[in-house]
Homo-oligomer: 352 residues x 2
């Protein structure tokens, strides 16, 4: 069932995304920043969060649901915290700004927490958690997801999103450890992919409104995603939604706009980034060597039958990034066709 | 199989724990602080983390594995961060000190992160996450667990602990939302309880060294706890262990001492507390009213068959605290006998 794949050089993809945004009225610098982050998502293997989302962003820009020329405002400012109003700009731009601010503050204070409201979908969580790494800092990012896919534990009203968390920690000889996870067993993108491929879902991904396992992904709208660890994942999704949404004055619960179904209504998406300066706790070189020891310990554990390797979070991301930087980014024929159509409608040069 | 339960007034339990610690050489003030926190754990219904642990703490104090007169040192100090050396004191005292410091710092900075090394078991995570609440702050606490019970995903060497997280958020009319969870499906205490009661565990709590479900709790030593969401819970446990352990220069991985099996070796337990000032983001009254709306939305969701209520994290904790404050704390006959024996050996008055 797989589409023929085309390998696209990341530089070509970057140029295409840039001109798409410029055609929609983005200032050149913002188009560059957003394109750089989106291509990075594709390079990292986050196929559901890179250029795959571009047609939806463009649709939203043209429908007036996304501001191409946002002016960020700092609504609250303390030594180690800030609250940013994203003026309904693309989430990548809002969180790029917020993360830079958190890094600057943490250089002095040791830790900084910057929240944002009136933002939008920002791609994969790991993008922002990884930005502090080059400053000898640890990053922690949380977002309210852009559509509600799960009810509170025991309920049937979809009040919660997959609210992801990402944490990135540097090492010396190994890739950084990068945890990037939804608080549900499966992300909703995996359900969509299973439907496209005509596959059955394993039990445990979703249940229907009677609480019975739902394994047919074409019936996804009749049920809900399941949180990891049952009530625990529900609790994580709730708390992350409060910290990234409610605290920032951003949407949560019934106020969350399903950005797949609605391109016009302001989403008021909330996120936060925490930057933690390693130097406030340890010599960064010593710490990175300690993380290498963690790698070595984990890798050397004897294995369960059926496992040929033990992976650390971020290991695949690093390998895929290297492969795709060298060889290009695979795009399905269906996505290529969609991007060609979008290019024609924007009257810009197509991807290649 | 249930033991006859005795209801003990919390004031009596507090006095007993205080004199136990004083008999072991604690300064009066430290004995008071530790007893207050331990009784609070019992009041909250955290039966496995309150006075239940006292005999083990006393055993460790008498074996020289715990310092009754620690002098805390601030090893690193930045405007919004600190690293505390707990001098092998009781974890409650170390984290009480660290949390007070985080609260003081966050009053100025908006957020503060205080880590600790050379600490010990500190009782339930929620104790510390809740301390910032009375200062209009949100608390977030993470610890390295005091014994390794799970391997990395796909492995068989128990390199990781249940590494819990707790987050507490205030409301106006409702109890605070308090998430307090291990990163495993079941805490190890639940396995021990099932064994005591002669019960079978559900599939999904543990697996054996072949990766097969382990449901007989008396065979717990032949297998491992399972992380929530499989590789996701493994990732959370790993990252929390790095933030609370490695970053602080505390034990992690092969260095973790099983404090159930060994009362003499210094555990070098690590934890951290984050205090976040709500006033740096919102008017606390508005925020608390927003959290009441979250309560109302969640409670009003239609329910799945078989559920007669939808609970928020912290709801049971609040109800149990009220009941036990009024009526007393239930202790099993077995625990009473253990405490009586301990009192005799310390030459102090028994519990009642």
């Amino acid at each position: 069932m797989s589409d023929p794949q085309h390998l696209i050089p990341h530089t070509a993809l970057y140029a295409f995304i840039t001109r798409s945004f410029v055609a929609c009225g983005f200032p050149e610098e913002d188009a560059d920043t957003a394109a750089g982050l989106m291509v990075k998502a594709d390079l990292m293997g986050q196929d559901g969060h890179g250029v795959f989302r571009l047609p939806m962003y463009i649709k939203r820009l043209r429908a007036g649901g996304l501001n191409p020329t946002p002016e960020f405002r700092c609504l609250e400012d303390r030594i180690a915290t800030a609250l940013i109003d994203g003026d309904n700009g693309l989430g990548h731009l809002v969180m790029h700004h917020a993360t830079q601010l958190a890094i600057e503050k943490a250089k002095t204070t040791g830790v900084a927490w910057v929240g944002a409201r009136h933002s939008n979908h920002a791609g994969p969580a790991s993008l922002y958690a990884m930005m502090p790494l080059e400053h000898d800092m640890i990053g922690l990012y949380v977002a309210v997801g852009s559509a509600n896919h799960l009810p509170p534990w025991g309920g049937t009203e979809m009040l919660l999103s997959t609210n992801p968390i990402a944490v990135a920690v540097p090492s010396a000889e190994n890739p950084p450890i990068v945890l990037d996870m939804a608080t549900t067993v499966a992300a909703y993108g995996k359900v969509k992919t299973a439907a496209q491929r005509g596959e059955t879902m394993p039990e445990g991904w979703m249940i229907d409104r009677q609480g019975k396992p739902l394994t047919d992904p074409t019936r996804a709208s009749e049920g809900f995603l399941l949180p990891i660890g049952g009530p625990k994942g529900y609790g994580l999704s709730l708390i992350f939604g409060i910290l990234a949404g409610v605290l920032n004055g951003a949407a949560f619960g019934r106020d969350v706009v399903d950005f797949n179904a609605d391109s016009e209504t302001t989403t008021n998406t909330g996120h936060f980034i925490l930057a933690l300066d390693i130097k406030a706790f340890a010599d960064p070189d010593v710490f990175r060597a300690d993380i290498d020891r963690v790698w070595a310990e984990v890798k050397s554990s004897p294995r369960l039958p059926g496992f040929d390797d033990i992976r650390l979070p971020g290991e695949r991301l690093d390998r895929v990034t290297q492969e795709r930087t060298a060889n290009g980014i695979p795009l399905t024929g269906a996505l290529r066709a969609q991007l060609d159509e979008m290019a024609a409608s924007l009257d810009i040069d197509p991807l290649l």
